[in-house]
């Protein structure tokens, strides 16, 4: 369960989030909004990458500002550009890098990493240089890096923006099969089948919060 209580955020004088209050128990939630609407900032508050300047964010009752480490253990985060979250030279090492924290031995890490890669369509890529993967594979790798840690919540910030149509579909299909609660930030509206709740953000405020069809009607009306 993710809860926002009167969340506001400012970068200097610029207000990017104002008075967001939401409780999100649903398994599949999307944040939709225009560029600069504040939806990415809102998503970043869920794992404490951004701490609200007013109000608070709770994950399973844990305050992201005070118990950030525990929150991040529960919340995985996938960014738009996989190149900046892949930190190790090969796919296997990058996933193993996540597992370093779990205190597993090296051989065990490598085995687990290969397993996670294989489960998500990257079988046989463990020794492959990460930066020579295709865009779609890189985003899968970034996802594997997070899933290896088995979080309860997965926040994805426009993970499909750099992908072609087929890879978009593939990525979203993969998301839909996960046991994790998924918060998807996106403006690919046709990817939201199967989502239970869509939160439309505009000018740093929640302007619609509904099932996908009515919420997206509102969003389209906003875009004019």
């Amino acid at each position: 369960m993710i809860e926002f209580e009167g969340v506001g955020h400012r970068y200097g004088d610029r207000e990017v989030l104002a008075d967001v209050t939401l409780a999100l128990p649903e398994k599949r939630v999307a944040f939709v909004g225009a560029n600069g609407s504040g939806k990415s900032t809102l998503a970043r508050t869920v794992n404490g990458l951004v701490l609200p300047t007013s109000g608070r964010v709770l994950v399973d009752g844990l305050d992201t500002a005070r118990r950030g480490a525990e929150v991040r253990r529960r919340v995985g985060f996938v960014f738009t550009d996989p190149d900046s979250q892949i930190v190790m030279p090969t796919a296997g090492e990058d996933v193993a890098f996540s597992l370093r924290r779990a205190g597993l031995g090296r051989a065990e890490r490598a085995r687990r990493a290969a397993e996670v890669l294989a489960e998500h369509g990257l079988a046989g890529y463990a020794d492959h240089p990460a930066h020579q993967l295709s865009g779609g594979q890189k985003q899968l790798l970034a996802l594997c890096g997070m899933l290896a840690l088995d979080p309860d919540v997965l926040v994805c910030d426009e993970p499909t923006t750099l992908l072609d149509l087929r890879n978009k579909r593939r990525f979203v299909d993969l998301l839909s099969g996960l046991r994790q609660q998924v918060v998807l930030v996106t403006h690919d509206l046709d990817l939201l089948d199967g989502f239970e709740r869509v939160v439309v953000v505009d000018g740093g405020r929640v302007v619609a919060d509904d099932e996908p069809a009515p919420a997206l009607r509102h969003y389209r009306a906003l875009a004019g």
Binding site: R72, D83, P89, R101, L104, P129
Partner: protein, 209 residues
């Protein structure tokens, strides 16, 4: 593509050798190269390094890429030194450089970064009581190796973009976007590391490997 770094998968004896002893070996070879001023001895050392490439069965294309990058540099050093200090000193300097580049590259070709990070963590373990955080130093080493490839990639893209605008000779057209993109990459990398739990873990047990 970065020609020097990057692991080349393999199963030879050098691949199987643990990272710690291998790293120590690299240091011994480089130290020998520095203390020996004798061109003949240095040539022998270089031959030993070359033998290492054969033993590790490094593919020809990787050797070729290394030579293409390193040879002009070694030749330049040789030429400058020959002009300033004479032939024997130039031969010594050039051979030293060739040995150092050769052995260091052989190490990165046959060792996974993950293993290097593990070796650094284990090696620094005893310093924990003096306040050193071996996991942080290991991460730093790993990220440094990874950064070589990343920065080379950014440089190539920026150069291509400058070319597309017909500004390939402008220093500003390269330096400004290169700096901006590098800094932005640093920001995002920081976020990604935080999201993966690095920088938290006060309760984390020491990494075992």
């Amino acid at each position: 593509m970065n020609p020097l770094g990057l692991y080349e998968p393999g199963t030879g004896p050098l691949h199987r050798l643990p990272a710690g002893p291998k790293l120590a070996g690299v240091m011994v070879v480089v130290t020998l190269a520095v203390v020996t001023g004798e061109p003949v001895a240095l040539a022998g050392l270089l031959a030993a390094v070359a033998l290492g490439y054969a033993v590790a069965r490094v593919p020809g294309r990787r050797v070729w890429r290394l030579l293409r990058t390193a040879l002009p540099l070694v030749a330049l050093v040789f030429a400058v030194q020959a002009l300033l200090l004479g032939l024997p000193a130039a031969a010594t300097a050039a051979l030293r450089l060739a040995v150092a580049i050769g052995v260091a590259t052989l190490f990165t070709l046959t060792t996974r970064v993950d293993a290097v990070v593990g070796a650094v963590e284990r090696g620094l373990g005893p310093l924990r009581r003096f306040g050193v955080r071996p996991d942080r130093v290991g991460l730093l080493v790993g990220l440094t190796v990874a950064a070589v490839g990343t920065l080379a990639g950014i440089a190539a893209e920026v150069r291509a973009a400058a070319k597309a605008r017909g500004a390939e000779r402008s220093v500003v057209a390269f330096a400004a976007p290169f700096l901006v993109r590098t800094l932005r990459h640093a920001d995002r990398l920081g976020e990604a590391l935080t999201a993966r739990g690095w920088g938290d873990e006060p309760d984390r047990p020491g990494p075992s490997s």
